[in-house]
């Protein structure tokens, strides 16, 4: 029994991994479906005598619909799952068990960070593959290399989100505080992204990179955000370790 296995069991026995995958799988199925049949759905719901004309859906719309839905509920699920693991000081007695048995708090934080990141990336990947397959069936093929690059950018964004969660858990003790603060930081970044050219530097830009790529954007346009996200991951995890080591129980 190791701290790595502890985190794996936390993900599997508490069904957190299942929930994460389920959320992304659901949106992977429904996103392209919604994009394909949105016109017909609105027709059935619409007022008699009024008809809304939609342009014919494109393959990129299937992925865009998936990302649009998953980037909200899916992200919330990722933050909740990661927050409950990273906020290991939330219950003092459980924190005493871990903290008095490791040489440094890094031994606790790293497995929790890496396994929760892996779980989030796995869920995103499964959702993306599902959306890709369904889009290909319903709307037409998508460019494979651009999809792969977009998925990689999305995975990096997940790593950044979990790193921010780890950092917030080292600032506040409770799980609710960790989740709330993390969502606050991500929301602020998303709002800042609307200001001038700042958006291309913010890691939140990566969450929808796959949509931009399949719509024809250059992969190079996401490099600034990639650099910031990579640096942010390292800084946030290092900060989490340093702040947690200084925390008193």
């Amino acid at each position: 029994m190791t701290l790595w296995r502890l985190e794996w069991l936390r993900l599997t026995r508490t069904h957190r991994l299942l929930i994460l995958v389920g959320v992304y799988l659901f949106f992977g199925f429904t996103g392209p479906l919604t994009a394909r049949y949105l016109s017909q759905i609105l027709d059935r719901l619409g007022t008699e005598g009024m008809k809304v004309e939609f342009p014919a859906p494109q393959p990129a719309d299937g992925i865009a619909q998936f990302v649009s839905n998953a980037s909200q509920i899916g992200l919330l699920a990722v933050v909740l799952v990661a927050g409950s693991a990273m906020a290991f000081d939330a219950r003092r007695e459980m924190a005493v068990f871990l903290r008095t048995r490791v040489n440094t708090v890094r031994e606790v934080i790293l497995p929790a960070y890496l396994l929760n990141t892996a779980a989030a990336v796995a869920a995103l990947t499964i959702g993306t593959l599902t959306a890709w397959y369904e889009t290909a069936v319903l709307l037409g093929p998508l460019p494979p290399w651009r999809m792969a690059a977009g998925a990689a950018f999305g995975a990096l964004f997940m790593a950044f989100v979990v790193a921010v969660t780890a950092l917030m858990a080292s600032i506040v003790k409770s799980t609710a505080g960790t989740v709330g603060l993390t969502l606050g930081v991500l929301l602020t970044m998303a709002l800042l992204g609307n200001l001038g050219g700042l958006g291309r530097w913010l890691p939140t830009n990566l969450s929808a990179a796959i949509v931009g790529l399949v719509s024809g954007h250059s992969p190079g346009s996401y490099l600034p955000a990639t650099a910031v996200a990579l640096a942010g991951c390292g800084a946030a995890v290092a900060g989490a370790i340093a702040l947690s080591a200084r925390r008193e129980l």
């Binding site: 029994m1 502890l6 007695e93 008095t100 048995r101």
Partner: protein
């Protein structure tokens, strides 16, 4: 000494939790930390465990941190782990290597062998306390810091824990805090008495009790109480005789040694029929109340 503190002080804002505390814990003894609520016992244990930092002062530890184990007053664990997994994790973190047999033995010693496969979320508070103790012992630490180790246990469980702590004497050093003074008196060699963050007394338990005890005997007779009272009052080593009931006497003496040597002969000489006689020892509760009131 395995643990020493010098002028250890801890402030929480304006509140002084510990004030210039100097403790000296001999190697391989059982050291009891007693004091009323808010005296600073948990803070002191947390500082020794490295979970809190002192505001000032120093700690001298004669043992590496990884040879130390801590038991909080109400141990809690992830409820989706089994008891065996919790102890296995504690074993792995405390002493990596082949831990399987050690885990099984510790579970048996803690009386949890039958519940080892059950998830901890279904454990009673007493079982959680036993599990906490198992996790503390499985790494065979040199120094154990136990915060109220028997507080959640029923009388049988409490007895087992006290016996277990007593068995550790000579093998490891135990520092335990407790509100149950009878437990401390039973298993501890040395005590530290805290009040309002200050150490009021530290030393060997017997010297604390003997130093404050008025030498006295309690005598229970089948018959002959009147003649015994008269005979005892004539002895120069007897300070006073107080009849407690018709057949029970309370005897204040100049020293226990003189009473031990002479009392049986005096009682035999006056024809009293003796059921029992024993020196009256001061107990920790009396001394604790005297020091902390």
């Amino acid at each position: 000494m395995i643990v020493q503190t010098r002028d250890l002080t801890k402030l929480y804002g304006g509140h002084t939790a510990l004030s210039a505390v100097d403790i000296n814990v001999p190697d391989r003894c059982v050291y009891g930390l007693v004091g009323p609520n808010g005296a600073g016992k948990t803070t002191l244990l947390a500082i020794l465990a490295g979970l809190r930092r002192p505001t000032s002062g120093e700690i001298l530890l004669g043992v590496a941190r990884h040879r130390m184990a801590v038991l909080p007053d109400t141990p809690q664990f992830d409820p989706w782990l089994t008891g065996r997994e919790v102890v296995a994790l504690a074993a792995r973190l405390a002493a990596p290597g082949d831990t399987e047999e050690r885990v099984e033995q510790t579970l048996r010693d803690a009386g949890l062998a039958d519940a080892a496969q059950r998830r901890v979320g279904g454990y009673s508070r007493g079982m959680l306390q036993r599990l906490g103790i198992a996790c503390t012992l499985v790494g065979e630490p040199s120094l154990l810091l136990l915060d109220e180790p028997a507080s959640a246990l029923d009388p049988a469980g409490r007895r087992e824990v006290l016996d277990l702590i007593a068995r550790l004497r000579g093998h490891a050093t135990v520092i335990m805090s407790s509100h149950i003074l009878a437990d401390v008196q039973e298993v501890c060699d040395s005590v530290g008495i805290l009040r309002d963050g200050r150490l009021l007394f530290e030393g060997r338990l017997d010297s604390l009790l003997v130093g404050r005890a008025v030498p006295a005997y309690r005598i229970h007779l089948r018959s002959g109480a009147e003649s015994a009272t008269e005979a005892l009052r004539s002895q120069d080593w007897v300070i006073g005789v107080d009849p407690l009931t018709a057949n029970r006497l309370h005897l204040n003496v100049r020293s226990l040694a003189e009473a031990e040597a002479s009392l049986p002969a005096v009682l035999a000489g006056c024809g009293a029929h003796v059921i029992s006689m024993a020196p009256e020892a001061a107990d920790l509760e009396d001394v604790f109340l005297e020091l902390t009131s």
